[in-house]
């Protein structure tokens, strides 16, 4: 019997033992896998899993030809760990295997020499808090400098990437491109197109071996980085540079406070040039005043003066009220309907003269325009100016853009309702004026101004900003008539010698507007401008040059040389062919 019982007992003992052991393991397993799992995983990860930030690069801003106006560049912050700094210096292992002892002060001197940093400041930073593990030594150095610092093999020197913004063309279109400050984009296209440009940083993790080598196949992208898109402007950067150079020279020669120059492609409203003087270099914003950081052509409305006259006349021709050859009797002074004591005069005194409507434009007669306003109701005149875009922002919607001011017929006084038809008592931006000339050049069809051509996302998808509707402001006949009138300015106007370009038919209009001195009266300062279309018979480009408060010449003759120079460059840049027909010989008097 016992012999039988023994194995059975042994068996049950074994089973119990095995079970007990297994239980112990199970308990431990549960403990490790479930109870402590999170903590253990964390501990393990902290030892072997590295998390890295992958940078989504901010997109470029390029001109219409692809020239880079703004891009992101690699810069490096040189950092250090003061607690690893030994006052005795360190031993450097040279390439040939020899060792050199480098004193702390020598190491600092080497860094200072490469980076241009101040030795004393570096020393202070390193020794101020010897327990600290992190301190910035030099910020945002270029790769060439960074490589040299790395080659010093100083054991306590570290680095971190510091993506930075770079504007290789400097002030070329700096007014439009804007800039990025430490807190992100602050002006211009950088700000308005930030949703397109902005990259999104991502993270990825990988595991490392004991010696820090990345384990193959262990990289996990926890959040993919998305690069920013590329914004393409309509600007031609070479022509923009030329216009800025010309504008600045002309502004300085005439002692002007500021100036703008715009070139707009008539067919599609693309802004090829929008130059400002003074203009900001986004790489160094301290070179100009705060008011020059943006684009004045959008943000600074002014009383445009006589360059408004074509808009008024175009409205009249459109309604069939006049043509280029309609006779106008222009008296020496205009007082009809004005309050007592108020007189509208021309720039130069004259007696009663007989002008055609073209003559009114050519002579830039305020009285002539005032006479013509009698033909049209206040409401229609107002509607005409608004249809040309005055009193509302352009579709560019530039940062800080002004909508200008057009007096409403409901509230307008008896003087302004007349004067705003020749550009006084009304305010407009250079962009609005350029838009008006675009419409006249494009047979009355006003195409919304465009500055941002497209946004190309990192994955290649291209989106175009919503430009807004194209409107027929005046009839093609009216636009053509006005251009014929404007041609007489180029051929016979008082600045025709300055703006004639042999071989080309050009429609121009001058403006010399008095600037209100802030007390409700006009002072001795003027804003002068010349606007025009080339070629006059089939316009391709509208050009407008404006100078504010010139000292030496207080008429549009101040802006004329710049206008002609930019016009010539437009001809060269876009290879505009010479006109094959002579200028329209529109009579200006009768």
């Amino acid at each position: 019997m016992t012999s039988l019982r023994m194995p059975r007992r042994r068996l049950s003992l074994t089973v119990i033992a095995v079970f007990a052991i297994v239980s112990v393991f199970v308990v431990r397993l549960v403990d490790i896998q479930l109870v402590q799992a999170a903590q253990l995983t964390k501990d393990a990860d902290s030892r072997q899993v590295r998390t890295v930030t992958t940078y989504g690069v901010r997109g470029d801003i390029v001109d219409s030809n692809g020239a880079v106006l703004a891009d992101s560049v690699d810069r490096f912050d040189i950092t250090a760990s003061p607690k690893n700094v030994s006052p005795e210096g360190f031993v450097r292992l040279n390439k040939d295997g020899t060792k050199t002892k480098v004193a702390l002060t020598d190491a600092i001197a080497e860094i200072a020499q490469l980076t241009g940093a101040d030795q004393q400041q570096l020393y202070t930073a390193l020794t101020k808090d010897p327990t600290s593990d992190f301190v910035y030594l030099v910020k945002a150095v270029k790769l060439s400098v960074f490589d040299k610092v790395k080659a010093l093999k100083i054991p306590w020197v570290y680095s971190e990437p510091h993506p930075a913004r770079n504007y290789p063309n400097g002030a070329v279109a700096g007014n439009l491109v804007g800039f990025v400050g430490t807190d992100g984009p602050q002006a211009g296209t950088e700000l308005t197109q930030n949703p397109c440009l902005n990259g999104v940083n991502g993270t990825s993790t990988y595991e490392t071996s004991a010696d820090g080598v990345r384990l193959p196949g262990s990289t996990v992208v926890t959040k993919p980085a998305v690069d920013g898109g590329t914004v393409t402007l309509t600007i031609d950067s070479n022509l923009q540079w030329f216009a800025q150079q010309t504008l600045a020279q002309q502004a300085q020669a005439t002692g002007s406070d500021w100036g703008t120059a715009m070139v707009v492609r008539v067919s599609d409203g693309h802004i090829m040039v929008d130059a400002d003087y003074p203009s900001v270099d986004p790489n160094d914003r301290n070179t100009v005043g705060v008011d020059a950081l943006g684009a004045r052509s959008f943000s600074s409305p002014y009383e445009p003066g006589s360059i408004m006259k074509p808009a008024t006349v175009a409205g009249l021709v459109d309604k069939g009220l006049v043509t280029a050859t309609t006779h106008v009797e222009v008296p020496a002074r205009f007082t009809d309907g004005l309050p007592p004591g108020t007189v509208i005069k021309d720039a130069e005194w004259h007696g009663d003269v007989h002008m055609t409507v073209a003559g009114v434009i050519m002579n830039s007669s305020n009285i002539g325009i005032a006479e013509l306003t009698k033909l049209e109701s206040e409401k229609d005149r107002y509607a005409n100016l608004r249809a040309f875009g005055f009193g509302s922002k352009t579709t560019v919607n530039f940062l800080g853009e002004s909508k200008g001011y057009v007096a409403n017929p409901a509230t307008v006084d008896a003087v302004t309702t007349v004067t705003q038809q020749f550009g006084q008592g009304i305010s407009a931006t250079s962009a609005q004026v350029a838009s008006m000339y675009q419409a006249i050049g494009n047979d009355g069809r006003k195409v919304p101004l465009t500055l941002v051509q497209s946004c190309t996302a990192a994955d290649g998808t291209v989106s175009y900003p919503n430009a807004g509707p194209t409107t027929q402001v005046v009839s093609p006949f009216a636009a053509q008539q006005v251009r014929a009138m404007m041609e007489t300015v180029t051929t016979q106007g008082y600045i025709h010698r300055l703006i004639t370009i042999p071989g080309y038919r050009i429609a121009s209009k001058t403006g010399t507007a008095q600037v209100a001195d802030g007390t409700g009266k006009y002072g001795n300062d003027y804003i002068v401008s010349v606007a025009g279309l080339i070629p006059a018979d089939k316009p391709q480009y509208a050009v407008i040059v404006t100078l504010a408060k010139p000292d030496t010449i207080k008429t549009s003759a101040a802006a004329a040389p710049g206008y002609a120079t930019i016009m010539k460059q437009v001809i060269k840049t876009f290879r505009i062919q010479p006109s094959t027909t002579p200028a329209a010989d529109t009579p200006v008097a009768w």
Partner: protein
């Protein structure tokens, strides 16, 4: 009853001398087939050994490759940084300010208006006119602080390889200068035709 001792015959001693015959259960064929065999066992164990060895070698190779991948990735990263730095430099050198300053430093002037030749009629249209002269005459008005310290490509710097042609270029310049006074006047850059190191210019009519 009778107590007669009867001698019992001795028992025949068991035949111990004879070796016991070896008996064995002969396995059936099925049993024989089921018996573990040596060769497959060896092959299996050997196979496992080979597999383990192969795995070991493979992991060594992979680990080694990881170092290589790691170093190549860092080399790629360095190369990318290098490329970025160079294209940044290129963009800067391609800026209009730099190009214009260099062109004028080399004695170039802006061209005049273009002329157009109608291939059908042979007629020439356009104003033409003299060269436009110096654009930067009144100084570079469009600032670019990034260009500070960037040297201009001066004729002296590039002229070393073209000393042979410099002489002819100078005479050509002088001849053109005497032919058309407008050219020299419009040049405006203050270039002395006799300045050595001027770039050669084609003699066009």
């Amino acid at each position: 009853m009778s107590a007669v001792a009867v001698a019992r015959p001795l028992r025949q001693p068991t035949t111990h001398t004879q070796p016991r015959r070896h008996l064995e259960v002969v396995p059936t064929r099925a049993q024989r087939r089921a018996r573990p065999r040596m060769l497959p066992a060896l092959v299996t164990i050997g196979g496992i050994g080979v597999i383990l060895l192969a795995q070991l070698l493979l992991s060594i190779v992979i680990a080694d490759g990881a170092y290589q991948v790691s170093s190549l990735q860092s080399a790629k990263h360095d190369a990318q940084l290098q490329q970025h730095a160079l294209s940044e430099q290129l963009d800067l050198l391609a800026s209009p300010q730099h190009l214009a300053a260099n062109a004028e430093a080399l004695g170039m002037v802006a061209s005049g208006s273009g002329l157009y030749l109608d291939a059908k009629s042979g007629a020439v249209t356009g104003s033409g006119g003299a060269a436009g002269g110096s654009i930067l005459g009144a100084g570079d008005q469009v600032s670019n602080v990034l260009l500070d310290g960037t040297p201009l490509v001066t004729p002296a710097a590039t002229g070393s390889g073209t000393t042979g042609t410099t002489g002819t270029a100078t005479t050509t310049d002088a001849r053109e200068g005497s032919q058309t006074s407008t050219d020299a006047g419009a040049g405006g850059a203050g270039q002395d035709p006799q300045t050595p190191g001027l770039l050669p210019s084609p003699n066009t009519h």
